[in-house]
């Protein structure tokens, strides 16, 4: 039987959800018997294979134009897309800037902040443009499953993946449905 293909990706997040996933520890050995990683910071593959994958896990919210592009491409190549963690589900800590106008954010970071030399707002065409706000994933693409938490516990990843591999609905019990 060919292995289930899984991709993972982080947008405006801190990689804490990926770290929690790695907290599966030795169970990862059981998992790699069943799954194969495609795009992921774990494999360093940068783009999901054009043939697509079975399951995609995304942490982080959407804060810039590149995030939008990555998320849409990821969505189009993942049969099942899972939004992972508080930032993906609510915007999370990065969304704290949503109450501050973008110009003021730039001014504080690049013009007036403490210790700034040669103040200027970076303007290189290579830099992705910031969005007006940080958005949760479900405001940009369709999401199939979610793992709440900051980060979601390793056992929540385990339940999600083993359920999807077995073809049943994931069922997170009380201890696995944390918002913090």
């Amino acid at each position: 039987m060919s292995k289930i293909r899984v991709a993972t990706c982080s947008l405006a997040g801190c990689f804490g959800c990926h770290m929690s996933f790695l907290d599966l520890d030795e169970r990862i050995a059981d998992l790699v018997e069943l799954i194969e990683f495609d795009r992921s910071p774990l494999t360093d593959i940068k783009i999901v294979d054009a043939a697509g994958v079975d399951i995609g896990l995304i942490e982080g919210g959407v804060c810039n134009a590149e995030n939008v592009h990555t998320l849409r491409e990821f969505r189009s190549r993942c049969r099942i897309l899972v939004a992972v963690g508080a930032c993906a589900l609510t915007g999370g800590v990065p969304a704290l800037r949503n109450r501050i106008p973008l110009q003021e954010c730039f001014a504080e970071a690049y013009l007036q902040g403490a210790g700034i030399e040669a103040p200027q707002v970076p303007n290189d065409p290579e830099l992705p443009l910031l969005l007006d706000r940080v958005y949760p994933l479900h405001e940009v693409v369709r999401i199939d499953h979610v793992l709440p938490g900051c980060p979601p516990p390793a056992d929540a990843f385990w339940e999600l993946l083993t359920a999807l591999l077995a073809g049943r609905e994931p069922d997170l019990d009380y201890a696995l449905r944390r918002f913090d």
């Binding site: 609510t90 949760p136 913090d180």
Partner: protein, 245 residues
Amino acid sequence: MNGNDFTFVLDGENIRFEPGQTIMEAASQAGAYIPHLCYHPEYRPRGSCKLCTVKINGHFGTACTLPVQPGMQVENDTDELNLMRRRVVQMLFIEGNHYCPFCEKSGNCQLQALAYHVGMQDSHFPHFFSLRQIDASHPEMLLDRDRCIQCELCVRASRETDKKSIFGLAGRSTSTNLVINSESGLLGDTDFSIHDFAAHICPTGALIPKREGYPIPIGERLYDHQDISAVGHLHPNAAQRGESK
């Protein structure tokens, strides 16, 4: 059934009640849990959060405001009602700004606990990211309007118990806002005290003592292991301190 038969049916069970009780009062006296946020046994019900919505003889109504009648058929813990309640809780989340991962109330918060109770995992709706004023002017208490669900419990407690009338709600619909009864509109310019009853009644982290931070470790907080239906009748004072009474 005759005029002296003071029983009604809640989720298929016969429950005794005392004349004049609301559905909520009769249910909690009998040990049955009906989800609620704006209801508090010591105050007149306000009926605003709608979490206690039940089906009475086939019609929707709020359990905290409606008096029981003999023979009433009340549905409470059904998939239909719990899905509706989940949507209500999701609306409360997206209307405010709830960052549970770093909120001091997390783990002891009744809104969050209700979200767990009704199986909420995501916010479903687009977020408002509304702009609400934080009031840090008071030396002892912080008012973080981002977390306010406008349940009016502080309003009622300040008016009825503390006899101070410090809080009020102003505006309509999505621009409803918790306002402070002082010339500057700031909490620091009132005679509000951390010893007021109103200082310990907020079901969320909106009205919260300063300089406490995160006094209870994760894993030992009120709702870390127990559903609010098991500890939901606690006095919010006890919930606030993470005590099991």
